[in-house]
Subunit: 379 residues, 2 copies
């Protein structure tokens, strides 16, 4: 699993791409014009480890509000722009650290140039966000990416016979759109680019990223669009992002969920932790329980999970139902508990350390976790 | 994504492997000797679509209880056996449809032969369940799989120099264990085999399955062990199982969660649905909401998700925050709703069909879903 080599961009101090740890980001769900609510939401997300935050910019009032918001938060701010170049300009003036903007959406090349010129001046990157649901018509995709940057665009579009045929797939359409949008920025000598290629379908998303990964050096923002609620959406996102990340593709991730934004952050870290790409707080090893269990594993595991949500120790905690498999199954854990009849054994690094009554096992485990001396690192 | 070709086995009428749909299974969390609770749990799981159920068999009373349990349920029953061959024999006599048993655990070859002979007589398969946490010591792994089945075992173990060295990995150990266990059954001319290779670490699990996939023709039962609570465990399982399934590896899955077994089933189907490997009930497309949303998407999406949990219509439902992106983003959906200011638009297959007040949008959407005429198929 060697990581794809990308040309890093910087959102303030936050590096994305290159050798930077894969960052976890989200988007606010408040009305951006409501500065107080937006700032509160961002502050809460920071607590959960959010590293980049994006706000929708539907109008000029929102673009101006970003100035106050930016002052009150500690993580880089991205302005999400559609169609209107003046909202992009105002957002940059408000001090945002990045734009999410598809230049092809703006149409007028002079307006695109104005935005790019100001972004260059302020030294901020632009994310091109290609979404399956809002692709431009194939006929509208113009000159695509020049093989030699900044020169006249070479039309890399498939021949029209191919476009008309059924063999022109959603993946073709997404990748061609991305190349076209990238080409517009490159033709203006702008290369501080991040790219996303999101679809609801996992396979479409994966194939699009895989293909573009071979064609451009820019970092990728991974996501599955409209993926659903906390339950179904996190599973769909975990599969889509997980497959790409396991192949070394992806530099920053956003899990889109119809739920609290903090669920997006928690899920994002769970995905990265599952692949050992980040360590962030505790990792819980918990047996599913079965007819052999001597204690209520489910209850204990969920209590421990909840209690450790904001504990910033990078440790592996094991909650196991029976004494037989407990120590063996969790031998890699920093600390673990295995149920016995009416009692439980606490072990450290697979070695038995203490026997406690079933009634006090939760408190004892938490006590032992709090006593553990470990690095409090985020990366 | 072409599926790995495997030699199917049958658990009663339930085919696993070959061209059979990938099945979703679980394990009871009740005391198997408590027949009533166990049956109740299985009946509930059947409602959620569980296709195979396994029960722990810690003692003879549990083995005997399987007889009554089997009579009261509609899905194949698997007996989970460790160490004691007499529990395997009694479980077979109780009428189970499959054993989960590692012959290497039983040690005595005569006892293994007794079990295999009875399994053959009753025509039931055996799943070999290799778990990272309970691997036999490398030195204990004996003769491994014969290249020519049923002949004297050929020792395929890596040379001891390799075993002693650090280059002998967890994956080597898991795959060698599986080959050894398989070899024991094959040497008794038994080939109705299913295999699992579970670890907590996603990469260990994936690499073990990938490697064994090239060496044996038997169907795979996929799982990640001790994966955690409903939240973290479902993400870890989704990534591990998702990566393998996307490569065409896997014939039946079990998501191990420290939670209600029905969560395991729901998660299992969500994984398969995300990869379009099964259709089962509704698939929800829901936007994450942002500063552009005109309605409370999160609330509506979760209400819809809950309401549709047991609806057995294979449809895609979209819940979108704003009128601008709504129809576009969800154009593949069978039915969708997109928020506007104080109202919402219901659309079918991307075409606007009805405008409703915000206050009645949930009821209206459910009404439209109930009116939809679709196939009620499970596969």
């Amino acid at each position: 699993m060697s990581r794809r080599i990308t040309k890093p961009v910087y959102l303030g101090k936050q590096k994305v791409g290159g050798t930077a740890p894969i960052s976890v980001q989200s988007m606010t769900k408040t009305d951006t014009r409501d500065i107080k609510s937006t700032v509160n939401q961002i502050k809460e997300l920071e607590e959960y480890g959010c590293e980049i935050i994006r706000c929708a910019v539907p109008d000029m009032e929102a673009a101006k509000a970003l100035k106050e918001i930016k002052k009150s938060i500690n993580i880089p701010l991205v302005a999400d722009i559609h169609f209107h170049h003046e909202l992009a300009l105002e957002s940059i003036r408000s001090g945002v650290d990045c734009l999410r903007l598809n230049p092809g959406n703006i149409r007028d090349s002079q307006k695109v140039k104005e935005v790019v010129t100001l972004a260059k001046e302020r030294d901020i990157p632009i994310r091109i966000g290609v979404n399956f649901g809002s692709l431009p018509p194939v006929g509208q995709i113009g000159q695509t990416r020049s093989a030699s940057r900044g020169k006249d665009g070479v039309n890399l579009l498939p021949k029209s016979s191919k476009i008309d045929s059924n063999s022109y797939t959603a993946v073709d359409h997404m990748v061609d759109t991305a190349l076209w949008e990238i080409g517009i920025l490159e033709s203006l000598d702008f290369e501080q680019i991040k790219i996303s290629l999101k679809a609801f379908e996992v396979d479409t998303t994966i194939e699009a990223y895989r293909r573009l990964a071979k064609l451009v050096p820019y970092p990728f923002h991974l996501g599955i669009t409209e993926s659903g609620t906390a339950k179904s959406g996190s599973i769909r996102s975990a599969i889509g992002l997980g497959i790409l990340l396991y192949e070394g593709i992806g530099d920053t991730i956003r899990v889109s969920l119809s739920d609290d934004s903090k669920e997006e952050i928690i899920t994002g870290y769970e995905i990265l932790k599952s692949l050992n790409l980040r360590t962030k707080g505790t990792t819980l090893v918990a047996c599913p329980s079965c007819g052999r269990a001597d204690i209520n594993v489910t209850k204990l595991a969920n209590m421990v999970d909840e209690a450790l949500k904001l504990v910033d120790k990078n440790i592996k905690v094991a909650v196991m139902g029976c004494e037989v498999n407990g120590p063996g199954e969790a031998k890699d854990a920093d600390i673990g508990i295995a149920g016995g009849v009416g009692k439980a054994i606490i072990f450290k690094k697979g070695v038995k350390s203490r026997v406690v009554d079933e009634s006090e096992m939760f408190e004892a485990l938490i006590e032992e976790i709090n006593n553990l001396e470990v690095e409090e690192s985020n990366v």
